[in-house]
């Protein structure tokens, strides 16, 4: 907008409203800054504030820890494979729900979002029950199974939202111009979906990388990074190392979210 139309009815936000909104925003963001501060504290045994001094040596200590790298490696592998499975299954489901009207379509679209709508503990204990009844041993794949199930929902939502903005006429035009189904998919549908797939994949990765509730029930004795952090939350042993791991994880999850947000900003935003 080059010029501002003065609108006599336009109200301005009152001061109390501004203060309340700012308070809520600060409440959402200040805690993350505090973690940044604590990663540099010289205090080893407590969470004392103000920090007695500042040091960067905990970074070296944390990155020298074998258990940290093992947990990080497991988390990255789980998130990678769960994301690939979620991308395949989620976009297939979105295409099916978008493309055709079939009996039970509404039921299926509810079923697909159920893993995110119900509390994580329900998915977790349900998988745990199935593992127990089926007498399946805990493994890498039991974790992936759980993660792919709720990651699929994120991909499904993002791809379906994009397909709905797409409109069927472009596909019809491509077919009328002589392209066959595979060509239409390759040259028309896929390029249009690309950023939605990438965004959905990023979010699915972030979701899986950070997931702890379902994982607790499907991991057995295995240690993903969130489970490692959770064990530090209930029984703090390595406070300085945990502080460093915390900002490492925050930075690692911020990146995919910011990228996903940027990718979908002009086309209806990211979808939960």
């Amino acid at each position: 907008m080059r010029f501002r139309i003065s609108d006599p009815t336009a109200e301005r936000a009152s001061l109390p409203l501004k203060i309340a909104a700012a308070a809520a925003l600060l409440f959402l963001h200040i805690p993350v800054w505090i973690i940044l501060l604590y990663a540099f504290t010289t205090d080893e045994a407590t969470y004392s504030f103000p920090p007695p001094g500042f040091t960067t040596r905990w970074f070296a200590v944390a990155f020298g820890r074998q258990d940290f790298w093992a947990a990080l490696g497991l988390s990255l592998r789980v998130a990678g494979i769960a994301t690939i499975a979620a991308l395949l299954l989620g976009s297939l489901a979105a295409a099916a729900v978008y493309r055709s009207k079939f009996f039970g379509r509404e039921t299926i679209s509810v079923l697909l979002v159920l893993p995110l709508a119900l509390p994580g503990i329900v998915t977790g204990i349900a998988l745990r029950s199935a593992i127990s009844i089926g007498e399946i041993p805990f493994s890498f794949w039991t974790i992936v199974l759980g993660h792919a199930t709720f990651c699929m929902v994120v991909v499904y939502n993002n791809v379906l939202a994009r397909l709905r903005r797409f409109g069927h006429s472009l596909i019809e035009a491509s077919m009328d111009l002589g392209a066959n189904g595979i060509q239409t998919f390759r040259y028309v549908v896929l390029p249009h979906l690309a950023t939605a797939l990438l965004a959905g994949g990023m979010l699915a990765f972030a979701l899986s990388f950070d997931e702890v509730i379902v994982t607790t029930f499907t991991a057995g004795q295995q240690m993903t990074l969130p489970i490692w952090i959770f064990s530090q939350l209930t029984r703090p042993r390595d406070r300085p190392v945990t502080n460093v791991v915390a900002i490492f994880v925050i930075l690692l999850t911020f990146i995919p979210i910011l990228v996903a947000h940027r990718l979908t900003r002009d086309t209806g935003g990211t979808h939960l």
């Binding site: 079939f102 329900v122 969130p226």
Partner: protein, 316 residues
């Protein structure tokens, strides 16, 4: 007729891919089953299968002597759920979920209202990201941050001491039901952290609902002589209410199903999530863990039915 002949001539030269896509194109049901088959099979086997396993497990019981699960239908486990100690856990959890939901609605509304009504398009984008970023970033680390903040020697106690309110804090912590040895070991602490981690889930639906309130209705209300306060109460608020209900679905459901926050900040009084976790783990009483999980499921189903009546699903 010549057209058909011509197309038949072309068809002979077509590639395999082309013939395949024509074959599939002419059979929409085949295409549908290719698309829908894998995800549906996955959801049926992995998810629904597990939910059924959960239900089945809740009707099994634990043999007190051998400590093994008896795979026979019984209502014994549900009877166990109704003992006073376990009902206490249920009530504590539901009470916390209600408190968190109400507080989240109060805290979220001004911010959502500001974003929807007063922010410039540019500021709106930034504010939206500012709400979205905490929602997606590491939930565990954000809980951990509060462990640092609420610790006895932490920043909050320090700040309170600096402004000379230590006595007030001590009074609060001495209260019977909500107090504890320090903020990081009390129901007050749990409440604050729940409020913090679920707040974005309340802001976004309220904002979405407020965005959909037509400006013309607000102008009409003003033209008809309503003061801004009246317009807010009689026009904006009722139209935004489905958004509040939609947000409350998240805050309520997430609070009921969580064990991370109470395990990190609580004392020995359990919440449903912790009970489920400990029964399936150390004591090996998977049936009781399953029966406990049925509580949030049943409550959420009832909640969702009411929410649908209130129009919350249109606000999602």
């Amino acid at each position: 007729m010549t057209a058909i002949d011509a197309s038949a001539g072309v068809r002979r030269e077509r590639s395999f891919g082309s013939r395949l896509s024509t074959y599939i194109y002419l059979r929409p049901n085949l295409l549908l089953s290719i698309l829908l088959g894998p995800p549906l099979l996955w959801m049926m086997v992995v998810y629904l299968g597990s939910l059924i396993a959960l239900l089945v497990n809740s009707f099994y019981s634990l043999d007190d002597f051998t400590g093994l699960v008896v795979r026979q239908f019984t209502l014994k486990t549900y009877a166990q759920l109704l003992t006073p100690a376990n009902m206490d856990i249920v009530l504590r959890t539901v009470g916390m979920a209600i408190a968190v939901t109400l507080a989240a609605a109060l805290l979220a509304f001004p911010l959502a209202y500001f974003i929807a009504r007063f922010a410039s398009p540019r500021a709106k984008g930034w504010l939206y990201l500012a709400v979205l970023l905490p929602l997606w970033s590491s939930y565990l680390v954000r809980v951990y941050a509060w462990k640092l903040i609420l610790a006895k020697e932490g920043i909050l106690s320090w700040t309170i001491a600096q402004i000379g309110l230590s006595q007030a804090l001590q009074f609060l912590l001495n209260l019977p039901a909500i107090g504890g040895p320090s903020l990081s070991l009390s129901p007050i602490g749990i409440f604050i952290v729940f409020l913090y981690v679920w707040l974005p889930y309340m802001i976004l639906p309220i904002q979405a609902a407020l965005e959909r309130v037509p400006k013309s209705l607000i102008e009409a209300s003003g033209d008809l002589g309503a003061r801004p306060g009246q317009t807010f109460r009689r026009v904006t608020l009722p139209l935004a209410f489905p958004g509040v209900v939609a947000g409350s679905i998240f805050t309520f459901s997430l609070t009921m199903g969580d064990f991370i926050v109470p395990a990190s900040l609580g004392n020995s009084s359990f919440f449903i999530g912790q009970a489920v976790l400990s029964h399936q783990g150390t004591s090996g009483n998977l049936p009781l863990a399953a029966a406990f999980t049925m509580v949030p499921i049943v409550i959420m189903v009832v909640y969702l039915l009411i929410a649908r009546k209130l129009g919350a699903f249109d606000a999602l």
